[in-house]
Symmetry: C2
Amino acid sequence: MPAVIDYINQHRQRYVDELFALLRMPTISADSTKKQDLVACAEHLARHFTDIGLNAKIEKTPGHPIVYAEWLGRPGAPTVLYYGHYDVQPVDPLELWKTPPFEPTVKNGNVYARGSSDDKGQFYTHVKAAEAYFRAGDGPPVNIKFLIEGEEEASGSNLDNFIAGNTKKLACDHIVVSDTAQFREGCPSLCYGLRGIVYMEIILTGPNRDVHSGEFGGTLDNPANVLGRMISKLHNADGKVLIDGFYNDVVELSAVEKAEFARLPFDPEEYRVSLDLPQLFGEKGYTELERVWARPTCDVNGVYGGYMGEGAKTVIPAKVGAKISMRLVPEQDPDSIEKLFRAYIKKIAPPTVRVEIITHGKARPVVVPTDSPALAKAREALRRAFGAEAVLMRGGGSVPVVETFKQELGVSALLLGFGLPDDALHSPNEKMSLEQFHRGILTSAHLMDLLAR
Amino acid sequence: MPAVIDYINQHRQRYVDELFALLRMPTISADSTKKQDLVACAEHLARHFTDIGLNAKIEKTPGHPIVYAEWLGRPGAPTVLYYGHYDVQPVDPLELWKTPPFEPTVKNGNVYARGSSDDKGQFYTHVKAAEAYFRAGDGPPVNIKFLIEGEEEASGSNLDNFIAGNTKKLACDHIVVSDTAQFREGCPSLCYGLRGIVYMEIILTGPNRDVHSGEFGGTLDNPANVLGRMISKLHNADGKVLIDGFYNDVVELSAVEKAEFARLPFDPEEYRVSLDLPQLFGEKGYTELERVWARPTCDVNGVYGGYMGEGAKTVIPAKVGAKISMRLVPEQDPDSIEKLFRAYIKKIAPPTVRVEIITHGKARPVVVPTDSPALAKAREALRRAFGAEAVLMRGGGSVPVVETFKQELGVSALLLGFGLPDDALHSPNEKMSLEQFHRGILTSAHLMDLLAR
């Protein structure tokens, strides 16, 4: 171990340089013009795995390729599967980026780049820990498998199909996923729960063309007016979601979990100020952490329609739409929630417009056991790398593959996130702390050592 | 007169060709990249007026130029001022145009092109009538002035300033504005009333960046959710506008006007089908014509914010907005309505978001006397050109200059529209009937003759 840790410390700057090479690749999976950039990134990663000492292969899919690499040189030792994704979110609104999203730029110890925290700078910690074991010794103390996909930020079933079709190849004792955030800086964290999601879109059509708001206004129900009325019916004044049956299967938090949440160093005022909000808001009767980790939500992710340019145009829009997603908690079922949403939208849509409802994606909420030996080892690895006690937390987002792993491979993933809450995932100016990146690599090296025992 | 009418009939096709040259110019006043195209169009028009026999001049403004032309060769005869605008609406959504907006295309006797009906194909009727008088005789029987501006479709005060500063030059006995539509085909029409407008925009800001809807959803009031709630508070279920004091100054229609509206050949079912609407809708207690001509409205002209691209992106938007305009009727005052709107928006905005309110434009509603001798002559000119009795109607749109003329020059304009209700003004596939264009020229020639007597 000391040689491995020394190697990681000595090559700290080169590891950062290599991460930057990865960050320069504009791997936006939702953008069809970037297809070749994703292929190039997958090839780059496969070459890198081979250079380090693993057997790597690019697995083609109907969409973007999957990179799979393995080293099974420790017969009898446990096998650890590392999951990550090399694709990134779109960058719009581009004008709000202070530095170009694909030119990694260091400021105050952070690297700013799209994908720095989500997820290139996170899964790469395990790649670099493995390298250290190969270069400073005779390889890792455990068998290792890497599954790095290119479609996490785009909806699609290609990874699920690949996992279902390769359960033998992917068989393992532990799974490590680094695609979540720490509770806060100085608070190394293990995430034991994630919310699910159902992502929908509704499109309302009124007249067969945009019409002049003077010549026609007053004779018809404006789809944009209707959209507002419908959105207003998603919640009551207390922030409760009004979709019929929405809360039926929600498991209330236990008193123990509530108490644990309350012990975490969370300051609502500091949080409010960090977002520059006049005031926080959410479902009445729950704290912020309870609401974001253990209560379901319904949020409009985007609205569009009619004249959206500068200045004024006097039209009544023919078509308007809203992207609307719901975050789910145990035991809400995404398929049932989708049905309830569709039924509710049909119920609240007036007869004056036509309504189309589209499903963009679904994922089940997940909570993993907090008393497993692997989880205890992960806490110890974090303690060694960060010099602080790790906290147990949940996340408000979704990592759908965790549920797939559970179902197909029978293994609950360790959610070992090295990001920070202000990393601006999915937002302009995404960043990753280089200190956390370094400590992540150390954590991964310690975890391999502990899991081998 | 017979020689003039003969000339118009003989040169019918050339007149159309000349209109097409005008329609090919992409004179979108709201698009700053088209500035030079507007200058070119103004120069083209000035040359054309000079060729016909008028004294023409390009009047520069801080914005797009005004074309002014006059011929005062009939001392003692009345003077007629013709108003029109050579600028056009933006063309988006471009993908919905069946033929390119600036390549005039003839189908079924209509020319499809942006600006064909609004307003190039309308004001040009008077230019061609004037030409016929010059070429088939010794000039028009009245003194004529043309005021053709380039900023009608963009908000701005340049024309108002020009009129206010040139009241002597523009002095006249009659004003003719052809920028409205006929009631329907076969129903030549005189418009005696127009609605006013107040065009606003509200912008709501929540968090200081787009945030991940999983990591943050539940802790803050989503500005897109809030926008929906606020839009829903603009109307009650009966279609009444809820802005406090909105109806205070509205003059109710007289029983006589209601009866006149009811006599017009309007079929709600035919209207509904023409717009492909599931159902008509509007303020309870009023007919469609009453609602669109004599009742104020409040319409969302556009909504935007968050993720508006294809597929899904899990953000809570930092900023969302809505363009909202109100159509006004006598005696609503645009300045007062703007104040009431601002106060109401502030009242219904929750403390969880920041609100910005922008004013884009305002115009006063106008109703002109229906018993003037000039109006009687206009009806007679229409009867001669169309072979049918003209109806008196109102319009739901706004032509702000009409009020300016009344105030600055003391003359009520004749609103002599040759468009048709399905011309798709401000929409994709705008068109003008070539038959109506021709009859418009004949009407203008007859009107000059009748006004001279």
